[in-house]
């Protein structure tokens, strides 16, 4: 006998000034079912107007980030247990476009602000025909931060982001550390200038909720603390950073 399960969705269309309301759906429960499976079932069989993002279905793309039972999670990685009631909401620190779809423009702009790429100024490196390969030993200085999939869960969980809209957020700051810790990067001055402010790394109060919710095991709060140390050292020793701490 198929057991039914109820799932509560917070639905809204801000563009049409509609008030967010919870809508309850009943779905047939199967063992191993994820919240994303349930949403797809609702979209295909119950209500075609239900709106949400998804892509890879295996926690690699970061498209299906949403608040599930009060915690920001990836819907494709969250199993529906037999007992729990399920309440699904869109991410909270980003403007909602419709239902569970949020506008990531602000998030992306903050990410773009920290120059998330390796800057090469050396003419020899610029003319390299082959790849600019990183040494295995040095890779471990920032490897975990390179695993970020930009799902926005940390940004949603951060208490500072919710009160200060100008704060860069844990994702952008941990990515800033990722590029600053990379010894192939040659323009540290400009990036440090951007993050050395109250809306940059000094805005973090180390609540660590970003690290709690990261689906890829990245520790953005560690990245921000290391970033603070790096910025402080760069001020003390001049802008040249001699070494990065080994993780």
């Amino acid at each position: 006998m198929v057991k039914n399960k109820s799932i509560k969705l917070l639905r809204s269309t801000p563009l049409k000034n509609s008030k967010p309301t919870y809508v309850k759906y009943s779905i047939p429960f199967e063992k191993g079912m994820t919240v994303l499976d349930a949403l797809i079932y609702i979209k295909e069989n119950v209500d075609h107007s239900t709106t949400f993002r998804h892509s890879c279905r295996m926690g690699n793309c970061g498209a299906c980030g949403m608040v599930i039972n009060g915690t920001p999670k990836l819907a494709c990685q969250t199993l529906i247990s037999e007992t729990d009631e399920i309440e699904v909401k869109p991410l909270e620190n980003l403007p909602v476009i419709r239902d569970l779809v949020c506008d990531f423009t602000e998030f992306d702009n903050k990410h773009r602000k920290i120059k998330p790429y390796i800057i090469c100024k050396d003419p020899f490196t610029q003319k390299l025909a082959s790849e600019h390969i990183q040494h295995q030993d040095k890779l471990y200085n920032y490897l975990q931060f390179a695993l970020c999939i930009k799902c926005g869960l940390c940004f949603n969980a951060c208490p500072i982001t919710s009160i200060n809209t100008n704060y860069l957020g844990p994702q952008a700051l941990s990515q800033a550390y990722r590029y600053l810790a990379d010894d192939r990067d040659e323009d540290r001055f400009e990036r440090i200038e951007i993050i050395d402010s109250r809306n940059g790394c000094w805005g973090c109060h180390f609540a660590e909720s970003c690290s709690e919710v990261c689906p890829k095991g990245v520790d953005p709060s560690l990245g921000i603390q290391l970033l603070k140390r790096m910025v402080m050292n760069s001020r003390l020793r001049g802008i040249r950073i001699k070494s990065v701490p080994r993780l």
Partner: protein, 116 residues
Amino acid sequence: MKESSIMLLHYTTGILIAVLGGVHLATHSFLGVTGYFDSLNYGSVTGRYNDSLFSIVLELLLINVTYHGLNGFRIILIEVWNNNKWTRIVNWSTLSLGVIVIIYGTIIVLGKYFLI
């Protein structure tokens, strides 16, 4: 002033407050007194406050506590509303308040050396 320099001073003053506060309390409790009641009698208190080394420690403590406390307060206020105008108002207000507190405190602590 860059935020990292402000925070560097914030951490340094925090450590100095612990050190100077310890020296301050130790001076009260152990320097030239036989016990708790002796440390609080009129002669001991005036003797301590007329000592130049004690006054210097007190002055340093005043500067460190004022900077550390007001900077902490500034950070809280900046986070209440986040806009450039408010940040500028808070920065200048705390700076002015800090200068006033330090000048007033210095007159009380070191005034006897410079004023008649």
